[in-house]
């Protein structure tokens, strides 16, 4: 039985870690949840974002938070180009093709990164890397607190974009009825690419907020991909608030599971919750039937 005094700090830490997971999952919920593209390259694209943040810091001294002005737009452009230049062309509109294309992309990207950057573990050391915020006696690392609020803001922005803009309406229309969207004059290829770009751009935000407390290697995405897919399904496919809530739940379950069941066994809590949600609420916590 763990010391009661560490349950609250562990819970708060779970929330901040969960926010980081949610940040990674937000992009995926757009790509996977809305457009139904199973993007196996999600982790590899996160890795590109992390390297971009790292090199901006190492070469030009640009702070990871300042890099928010550079990396997300750059990743958006990369995502747009990938979707229009490779995924659409090679996928021929078939889900299984797209799945294999994104899987192939992830392998190519990781190996190119390995060739270009070697497998060294790289980190950034910012003046605030070891700063803490004390909340109810718990020490929360400042970068994780920033990531927590960053996840809230990113989710709100995405929600606003989807609910209030023409692009958001076009994406939703495309997700619900592709032929109908075409009939009313929506440029489907452009909207698909914009959606994919936005999803990858979210990874840029995640990379900027993640690197001050994490590291980057060519394989770094592996640790996040499965958990991001879990969060998307748990929260409800296509729901940004669901991704945020799902991420926070996963973070808390992981933290408390580790505390009560041990670090190795604690991970099963994540998948137990996942299975329970699938049994009792197959559309996810905040998802709805299309």
């Amino acid at each position: 039985m763990p010391d009661l005094a560490i349950i609250l700090p562990s819970l708060l830490n779970g929330l901040t870690t969960g926010a980081l997971y949610a940040l990674v999952a937000l992009g995926l919920t757009l790509i996977y949840g809305v457009l139904h593209i199973i993007n196996f390259a999600h982790g590899a694209l996160l890795m590109i974002g992390l390297y971009a943040v790292y090199f901006l810091n190492a070469r030009f001294g640009i702070d990871p938070y300042v890099a928010l002005l550079i990396v997300p737009p750059a990743l958006f452009a990369l995502g747009y180009a990938l979707q229009r230049g490779i995924i659409t062309r090679a996928g021929h509109g078939r889900d299984e093709n797209i799945l294999l294309v994104t899987l192939g992309l992830s392998i190519v990207i990781e190996n190119l990164a390995l060739f270009a950057f070697r497998s060294d573990t790289r980190t950034v050391d910012t003046p605030y890397s070891f700063e803490i915020v004390e909340v109810l006696g718990a020490f929360l690392p400042l970068p994780k607190v920033v990531a927590f609020f960053g996840a809230l803001v990113t989710a709100a922005l995405l929600w606003g974009l989807m609910a209030k803009t023409d692009l958001g309406r076009a994406i939703r229309a495309l997700a619900k009825e592709r032929k109908g969207a075409k009939l009313v004059g929506i440029n489907t290829e452009h909207v698909y690419a914009m959606s994919f770009g936005l999803g990858v751009g979210c990874l840029g935000v995640a990379a900027c907020l993640l690197l001050p407390s994490y590291y980057v290697t060519p394989q770094v995405g592996h640790g996040f991909v499965l958990i991001a897919f879990t969060i998307v399904v748990l929260g409800g496919m296509g729901s940004f608030v669901g991704a945020l809530v799902g991420g926070l739940i996963i973070g808390v379950v992981e933290a408390l599971g580790g505390l009560f069941l041990g670090e190795s066994l604690g991970q099963i809590g994540i998948f137990l919750i996942f299975i329970l949600v699938l049994i009792f609420r197959p559309t996810g916590l905040l998802g709805h039937k299309v």
Binding site: S10, L114, T123, E263, S264
Partner: protein, 410 residues
């Protein structure tokens, strides 16, 4: 598939006749020329250059390639007429089964020996697979004692295993405790989940009580672990005098950062085969988090000019001189020495030469090489401590470059 070759200006018959004549002249007229180009000795290098321990695997490969370059530059294997060593590269991706598959492929392709495989689990698999063809196999880093306890005639290790390292670590901890008025009485062990971490933790948990140190908890974690806060919170709540990590580099970095973020205070962080505390990259990138951390690990002899020259050469290549680099370097050196003495690449002869190895390894803090059941009994670890941003050897005395600071908080 056949490949048609055009020989400009010569018909097929003329070409064959000319070729046969040339071959005849070559064999009879220039035997010395032919003998001057002996067949290369093919050495398989199998490391996890992708996957979760890719950094370490790549370091191993670099160390091996440096050794091969040095041996070849020095004239190759002289007893084989200056035969060059030729690297055959394989990637286990961090998975034992893939490591074993690489061995199978390499043996079929005719490698003469194998150096593998960084982690204990991979080394167990690769050496077992190599044993089927009696291919000489030198384990570069893998520390599990099981590796050399299976009676495999082809498996050798020149570095110490975790049994001797854990004993050395515990003995020295006892010694450190005697030096201070404020000895450590409790410890928590944090280890990664594979054979290396689990085996090391078991040995430490068994031995530490004998030195008057109670192990109040042992926490195992996965590779990769994304967040160490939970573990560190448990450490904070149990307030051990000593924190003993045994894990790989990425996890060590996150763990050490989290210890600092959570303002954990202990008398010492005493790693055993720690993935980062004896690592120049970690010390360079996290000087504050690294300060005062002690480690019991593989290290070179800091008083050896040969060792320092190799370190400088590695750094000139842009490498951090981690133990993966010099242990794999040594493994290749040991293989080349065995082939040299055997005067042959015959597998049984090389295995016998390895079993009787008396290689001078004074560039390491080792005693005379003495192989028993494939293990170099002369191999020893050392204690290091990060002091003022430098990795100093603090024990044994004969190799020490600094006095230990313990407890670390004064």
């Amino acid at each position: 598939m056949t490949e048609k070759t055009k020989v400009r200006g010569l018909g097929r018959r003329e070409f064959l006749a000319t070729g046969a004549a040339a071959l005849g002249v070559g064999l009879t007229g220039f035997p010395a020329v032919l003998r001057a180009q002996p067949a290369a000795v093919k050495l398989g290098l199998i490391h996890p250059v992708t996957g979760f321990v890719a950094f370490s695997g790549t370091q191993c490969r670099e160390g091996a390639l440096m050794a091969i370059a040095d041996i070849n530059a020095a004239g190759g294997i002289k007893s084989l007429g200056g035969a060059k060593l030729e690297a055959v590269l394989g990637d286990s991706q961090g998975k034992p089964d893939l490591g074993a598959a690489e061995v199978t492929k390499m043996v079929e392709a005719g490698v003469d020996g194998i150096v593998a495989g960084y982690s204990s689990a991979i080394s167990l698999a690769t050496s077992q697979e190599a044993a089927k063809s009696n291919t000489p196999h030198i384990v570069d880093v893998g520390v599990s004692d099981q590796i050399v306890q299976r009676g495999l005639a082809n498996t050798f290790r020149f570095a110490p295993g975790y049994g001797s390292i854990a004993k050395f670590a515990v003995d020295n901890l006892g010694g450190l405790n005697q030096l201070t008025d404020s000895p450590a009485k409790t410890a928590m062990i944090i280890h990664e989940e594979s054979l290396f971490g689990t085996g090391t933790a078991e040995l430490l948990a068994k031995e530490l009580p004998g030195k008057g140190i109670e192990v109040i908890d042992v926490i195992k974690h996965a590779n990769p672990t994304r967040d160490f806060t939970n573990i560190v919170l448990q450490i904070k709540s149990k307030k051990p005098d000593l924190i003993i990590p045994a894990n790989y580099y990425n996890e060590y970095v996150l763990f050490a950062r989290t210890l600092r973020q959570q303002r954990v205070e202990a008398k010492g962080i005493y790693s055993v085969l720690g993935g980062a505390a004896s690592n120049y990259q970690f010390v360079k990138e996290f000087p504050e988090a690294a300060e005062f951390i002690m480690d019991c690990n593989h290290w070179f002899n800091p008083k050896s000019e040969v060792a320092l020259a190799r370190k400088a050469a590695a750094e000139a290549k842009g490498l951090f001189y981690t133990y993966e680099v010099f242990l794999t370097y040594n493994a290749v050196l040991a293989y080349a020495d065995a082939v040299e003495r055997a005067g042959s690449t015959d597998k049984a002869a090389v295995n016998e030469a390895l079993a009787n190895s008396t290689l001078d390894m004074s560039f390491m803090p080792y005693g005379p090489t003495q192989m028993i059941n494939g293990q170099n009994m002369g191999a020893k670890a050392v204690n290091t401590q990060v002091l003022k941003g430098e990795i100093e050897v603090i024990f044994p005395q004969e190799f020490a470059s600094a006095m230990p600071v313990f407890p670390m908080n004064g």
